[in-house]
């Protein structure tokens, strides 16, 4: 027999909680009254409508909880619910274990419990189990929401002290409970009319919507006679409650989609949202590329995570051979933004997630962009070479400076020869141009993204390195000084043919003011009678090494 306990009127009824499963005894007439009041008032405004909740309760025999203790536990839990939540919850205790007979809440399926929740808005399936470590109890439970026909994740709540288990049970039901809301506006943010939010609660603890709460939006497509044709969740989209004003919750839309809540939707529909409370379960993802027979696991990709308002992401891990990766339980109790990177550099997919939202594995398709990644790593290798060259040039320039100061011109000549053996700037410019052109061509021919934002940034960085650090001003200055030192009258002679000298033709000559006194890149500006002066330390390129 079913018993109903409208909490608002609980003080007037006799708490006859007689029997859970075989233990609960037959109820009384007040339950019948309550049953009548549990019918959802469809016409009532949603924010003034309480949640009708049907509860199935079972006790694992290994928990060694007797009938009286169970009855007392439920009684105290109801008292706590009345004291802290009050009218928003209308709880209806079922007399038997129902779907929990022979099953744990984890084994429930929506198809199994859906019909049992007919006529109410929520179904709670609670179970008392022995604690795995020996002492105390573990309470487990999950919720079925009739509005979106979703079975929530399994929540576990330790109850280390059996006499105080009611408090743990209340905490469990607070976590199990997922508020329902209607999305009334979706641009730029969203406003939610949360069911039961206008009902008074005795304590702040019992409020159904608080800032920080996260909702997941659902499209409910309606057929004739308001029948539900389809319920579709909006992927990678969450509504994060920023503030609550009365019964209205203002939310930020956090989505991995460009337009998660379009206004133009065909057909009759309702846009609702279901609150989410993270459970202590791992969050599983499987990333795949391709479709159908061509589908391949996205193995070896790096996943990073950051808070919504954080800029710095931390590495979560790398997908395994099957493209799987798991966020551990209690990874975060807030929304996080996950980003999948190819080879740790090329972002492939960014999406929000509430860790612990569901224990189910979510399959996420990605576009691997192998050509873009290959290009980026070629650019990185090129950057390494450039940096190495800059360092080598810096060392040689320092030595040249010292030798020129001491007028050890033979040494200067030897160092200049050594300098000349280094790869010239033009090599790098040509290689960079080749890489860029090849990427453009391939992108155009194959129609695959290669010059992605990251690749373009790498290209720009490489180009900047070449332009900023690989000019030949320093070499030319020392060469000029050396040649003037060798001239009988101390005047400069025409610079020797050098690939380094030729390479400077492609870049504008440095401004005279920035050059060392008495020297120039061509030697033409040098005064004929100027002494073979030591060149000054060139500005910009040769002066500092990017370490």
């Amino acid at each position: 027999m079913m018993r109903l306990f409208p909490l608002a009127r609980r003080g007037t009824i006799v708490p006859l909680l007689l029997g859970l499963g075989g233990w609960f005894a037959v109820g009384d007439a007040s339950g019948q009254d309550a049953s009548a009041s549990a019918e959802p008032a469809a016409s009532a405004e949603i924010e003034r409508r309480p949640y009708s909740i049907r509860v199935w309760f079972s006790v694992d025999p290994a928990a060694r909880l007797g009938q009286g203790s169970t009855r007392a536990l439920v009684d105290r839990w109801l008292t706590l619910a009345q004291r802290f939540v009050g009218s928003p919850w209308q709880i209806e205790i079922q007399p038997d274990e129902g779907p929990l007979r022979g099953r744990s809440p984890q084994q429930l399926e929506p198809e199994l419990v859906g019909p049992l929740v007919d006529g109410v808005e929520k179904g709670w399936f609670l179970r008392v189990e022995p604690a795995p470590t020996g002492g105390g109890l573990t309470l487990v439970g999950r919720e079925y929401d009739a509005t979106v026909r979703q079975l929530g994740p399994l929540y576990r709540q330790p109850a280390p002290f059996p006499k105080d288990a009611a408090r743990s049970l209340f905490e469990l039901t607070r976590r199990v409970f997922a508020p329902v809301a209607e999305v009334v506006r979706s641009d730029p943010g969203a406003e939610l009319r949360v069911q039961g939010a206008a009902l008074p609660t005795p304590d702040r603890l019992g409020r159904v919507a608080e800032p920080g709460l996260v909702f997941r939006p659902y499209w409910i497509f309606l057929g004739p006679n308001e029948t539900i044709r389809e319920i579709r969740s909006i992927p990678f989209t969450y509504l994060h409650v920023d503030e609550v004003e009365g019964s209205l919750a203002r939310c930020q839309i956090v989505s991995g989609l460009r337009q998660p809540l379009p206004k133009q939707v065909a057909g009759r529909y309702r846009l609702v949202a279901l609150g989410l409370n993270p459970a202590d379960v791992p969050t599983r993802f499987r990333f795949v590329s391709g479709e159908g027979d061509q589908q391949l696991p996205a193995a070896g990709y790096v996943l990073t995570a950051r808070g919504l308002r954080d800029r710095v992401a931390s590495e979560v891990g790398t997908t395994d051979r099957e493209g799987r990766i798991t966020l551990p339980p209690k990874f975060s109790d807030k929304l996080v933004m996950l980003r999948l990177l190819a080879a740790g550099v090329e972002p492939l997919r960014e999406f929000p997630v509430l860790p612990g939202e569901t224990p189910e594995e979510r399959e996420i398709p990605v576009e691997p962009r192998p050509e873009a990644v290959a290009l980026e790593f070629r650019l990185k290798a090129l950057q390494d070479e450039i940096v190495d060259l800059i360092a080598r040039r810096g060392v040689l320039e320092a030595r040249l400076d010292a030798r020129a100061t001491g007028e050890a011109w033979d040494e200067v000549k030897r160092l200049l020869d050594e300098y000349e053996q280094l790869p010239p700037r033009r090599d790098f410019e040509e290689r960079l141009a080749r890489l860029s052109e090849t990427a453009q061509l391939t992108q155009a021919e194959r129609g695959v993204p290669i010059l992605t934002r990251t690749a373009q940034a790498e290209l720009a960085e490489t180009r900047a390195l070449i332009e900023r650090y690989l000019d030949d001003e320093a070499y030319q200055a020392f060469l000029d000084a050396y040649q003037r030192s060798q001239a009988p009258d101390g005047s400069a002679v025409a610079p020797a043919a050098s690939p380094l000298v030729r390479s400077t033709e492609t870049t504008p000559p440095p401004a005279p003011a920035s050059r060392a006194a008495g020297s120039s890149s061509t030697g033409q500006n040098a005064a004929p009678d100027s002494p073979p002066a030591r060149p000054g330390t060139p500005s910009g390129a040769g002066g500092s090494v990017p370490f």
Binding site: A299, G300, T318, R321, F377, K380, A381, A391, F547
Partner: protein, 813 residues
């Protein structure tokens, strides 16, 4: 005053009449022998440090006055009795007057320097005095005092101090009377002391030196004989029979008539005979080894030698010097030593991935046929009939193969392979000899995954079968594994062999501490086969007419593995800095080859052998630039915000790694990275690495025969480790990890080659490992071993046809 007075023999009645009246310490306990040699017997002042304080002599005048003076001259003083007699003769103190002797009046005007010496007192203000020699009752010379103190110290077993004192005397006057006798005495005492304390080698060495210097030293010969006998006993107890024989020969040369000579000789002969008698109760290789033991004790027994030869011809035994012995006897490949012996113990499912093998035409494999269906996703295996397990329990069947294949997909088993686990969907035995394997996807070469040693299904999780004598590895190969230790492994010919029964009855693998020991063992003939020839000794062995040298088909790649689970090592600049710090060419030439580079031994620029299909020839070589290395390491430190980088560098106990480990440490230290070197046996190190255990840097060596399958474990040691080990996390570059995992999905050869080239190219830039060099590996064998080919893929290739002539080294220690 003339200080160069002629010395006269000082030993007169001086020491005889010296009365010890002062000084705090009196030399006591000198033996009768010492007194018999009339060594100086002087009292030693206790308030002076004889080695630090200024030298002194101690004079006792006839009136009892004791003076500490600077060393007098001449040394020793002239004989005062002779002076006195001369003076008396020159001016008799009595003159005969009539029939009476009348005392003569003193001559007051004599020169004070006559028959006198000048002494300088050792006071705060030194003063010089004339002292008539005849006024000196006794003189204790500083040298004698030193020698006396040295003897006293030796008596107290303070031999170091004693020899310091003796050396001090020698430095003052090498010809000082009594110096040699004292030194000999001290050597005698020290030798005796060493023998008493059981330090036989030290004692014999000292007494031997003394014997060369003074063979007539009293009691020396009996003491030597006793010491040598103890040494021989000790050597026999330790099993060092060659040493015992050598010591016996030395003893015979020293004291041929000593009773110990015959006693020890008989002891060795009887021990050898006893072992030979024991051998008669044995058979096969056990008998050979017991007779060899007897010959090791006493090789000159011709009768035993003949019996050994006969026994050896019946059951040949091969002794092999290896880099390391296997650790775990199950059918799992955990280290290079396992790979060496695995095919001897367990037949593989397929011997090769060739078509011939898939048709079952190769001997020594279990599969009779491999059929590939469903575009490579379904494999049907038929098992050869009639192959028995070596315990004789039953024949190999499909259940055994199914167990082998499924074991490798279970993370809890030793032989787990994450790649195989990911590939395998189902194994289903169809009947006794047929089974079906379903794969998740089509691998590039399905047969390559079946080159596995097959163990019996009735074995435990560790691959061992419980027998009445305990758990044993039971395979179907031509050999079975005997006792294992850290330094040796015994492999016996199996009783139940169905095809290709090998000639060799036993293989004894031995690990030597150093490469030089292994080479010496081969040259002595203690072993007949050497697994790895140190390259710096290659020429030596090639020039030996009794030794032949072969080469391994695939070059050995050497590299330093990097654990990316250490966040420091994920830093790209640091890895580049470490690479620049290594002077590959110099280390190779000076550390390993000790000769110029040749075509087959070159620095490497990547994981693949130069010229192989997977090697990109366009990849530029890795250069050495210590300055750039410093700058990159400094940059890495700045990026990570740390001041000091300390890493552990594990390297195996193999010749090439030992030769360069310290230089690698120095090179990295110069660049600013502190490496803590840790040497480990190769099997232990490789097993830990493959299980995914954490490390920092590890020196690794391997040949690469199948780049597609082997590149993963090469770049990442824990590549196939169970997921809980986070083996993939060890790969320091996400890019390389991605390329490797993509390679696993490749299904055609051109794509695989392209992917391998990309890996080779990007490994040069990303440096998930530090490539070092590729070396041509060599093995060597004594000419009495017939069969090893000049070029082989593995050490025991074709061992079924090998033969060995009986031979025994009389010089074997």
């Amino acid at each position: 005053m003339d200080r160069t007075l002629m010395r006269s023999p000082r030993r007169s009645a001086r020491t005889m009449s010296l009365l010890v009246t002062f000084g705090s310490v009196v030399l006591a306990g000198l033996g009768a022998e010492l007194r018999g040699t009339q060594l100086p017997d002087v009292s030693i002042p206790a308030n002076r440090d004889l080695l630090r304080d200024p030298p002194f002599d101690r004079l006792t005048l006839i009136d009892g006055t004791v003076l500490f003076v600077d060393p007098v001259s001449p040394r020793p003083l002239p004989d005062k009795e002779a002076i006195r007699a001369a003076e008396a003769k020159e001016s008799p103190r009595f003159e005969r007057v009539g029939g009476l002797l009348v005392s003569k009046a003193p001559e007051l005007n004599r020169d004070p320097s006559d028959n006198a010496i000048v002494i300088r007192t050792q006071e705060d203000e030194p003063r010089d005095y004339y002292v008539k020699i005849t006024s000196i009752r006794s003189a204790d010379y500083f040298d004698d005092i030193l020698l006396a103190e040295a003897l006293r110290r030796a008596q107290s077993n303070d031999f170091d101090r004693a020899f310091e004192l003796v050396l001090a005397v020698r430095s003052r006057d090498p010809n000082w009377k009594g110096l040699r006798e004292t030194a000999d005495r001290i050597i005698f005492l020290e030798g005796q002391h060493a023998l008493d304390r059981g330090q036989v080698d030290d004692g014999l060495r000292l007494l031997g030196q003394l014997y060369e210097r003074a063979p007539d030293t009293p009691n020396l010969k009996p003491l030597l004989a006793k010491g040598y006998a103890g040494r021989i006993e000790s050597a026999i107890e330790q099993g060092s029979y060659a040493l015992a024989r050598r010591v016996l020969e030395e003893l015979r040369g020293l004291t041929p008539d000593a009773p110990e000579v015959d006693r020890m000789r008989q002891r060795l002969i009887s021990l050898a005979q006893r072992r030979a008698d024991e051998a008669e109760r044995l058979s096969g290789p056990d008998r050979v080894e017991r007779l060899a033991d007897a010959l090791r004790v006493w090789p000159n027994d011709d009768a035993i030698a003949e019996r050994y030869r006969e026994a050896f011809l019946e059951a040949p035994v091969l002794d092999v010097a290896v880099l390391d012995v296997p650790r775990r006897p199950g059918p799992f490949l955990e280290c290079p030593a396992d790979a060496r012996v695995m095919n001897l113990l367990y037949r593989p499912l397929l011997a090769e991935s060739s078509e011939q093998a898939t048709r079952g035409e190769l001997p020594g494999q279990i599969a009779a046929e491999l059929t590939v269906g469903d575009i490579g996703r379904r494999l049907e295996l038929r098992i050869k009939e009639g192959i028995s397990w070596n315990d004789g329990s039953r024949s190999v069947n499909a259940i055994d193969v199914a167990r082998t294949l499924t074991d490798r997909a279970l993370p809890s088993t030793i032989g787990y392979d994450a790649r195989w686990s990911n590939l395998l969907t189902r194994v289903r035995p169809i009947d006794e000899t047929t089974l079906e394997v379903t794969l998740r996807r089509t691998p590039l070469d399905p047969a390559a995954w079946l080159l596995l040693p097959v163990g019996p299904a009735h074995a435990g999780r560790d691959g061992l079968v419980w027998t009445p004598s305990g758990p044993r590895p039971i395979g179907s190969g031509p050999f079975t594994l005997g006792p294992l230790s850290q330094s040796s492994a015994r492999i016996d010919r199996a009783d139940q062999v169905d095809e290709g029964t090998p000639t060799l009855a036993r293989i004894n693998e031995r690990r030597y501490e150093t490469p030089a020991d292994a080479v010496a063992a081969l040259r002595r003939g203690e072993v007949s086969l050497l697994e790895a020839v140190p390259l710096d000794q290659l020429r030596l062995l090639e020039d030996d007419p009794d030794i032949q040298v072969g080469r391994y088909r695939a070059p050995r790649m050497h590299w330093i593995a990097i654990d990316g689970r250490n966040p420091v090592l994920r830093n790209r600049s640091l890895r580049r800095g470490l690479s620049f710090a290594i002077n590959r060419k110099e280390l190779l030439q000076e550390g390993i080859l000790r000769a110029p580079l040749n075509d087959s031994t070159i620095p490497s620029d990547g994981p693949f052998p130069a010229g192989s299909a997977a090697d990109d020839p366009e990849v530029p070589p890795l250069t050495h630039d210590p300055l750039l290395a410093k700058m990159l390491v400094r940059a890495a430190k700045q990026e990570m915000g740390i001041d000091v980088i300390e890493l552990t560098f594990s390297y195996p106990s193999i010749p090439s790694a030992r030769a360069v480990a310290s230089k690698l440490v120095e090179a990295c230290a110069d660049a600013g990275v502190v490496l803590k070197p840790v040497e480990r046996p190769q099997s232990d190190l490789e097993r830990d690495l493959r299980q995914g255990l954490r490390f920092d840097l590890a020196y690794r060596v391997a040949p690469i025969t199948d780049p597609v399958l082997e590149i993963g474990p090469i770049l990442c040691p824990g590549y196939s480790a169970p997921p809980q080990a986070d083996g993939l996390g060890a790969l320091a570059s996400a890019r390389i990890l991605q390329l490797l995992l993509q390679l696993e999905q490749v299904q055609d050869l051109p794509s695989a080659r392209e992917q391998l080239l990309a890996i080779d190219r990007e490994t040069r830039d990303e440096l998930p490992i530090l490539p070092l060099w590729q070396l041509q590996g060599h093995f060597a064998w004594r000419a009495r071993l017939n069969g090893p080919p000049a070029e082989a893929g593995e050490l025991y290739e074709g061992i079924e046809s090998w033969t060995i002539d009986p031979w025994f080294s009389r010089e074997t220690p």
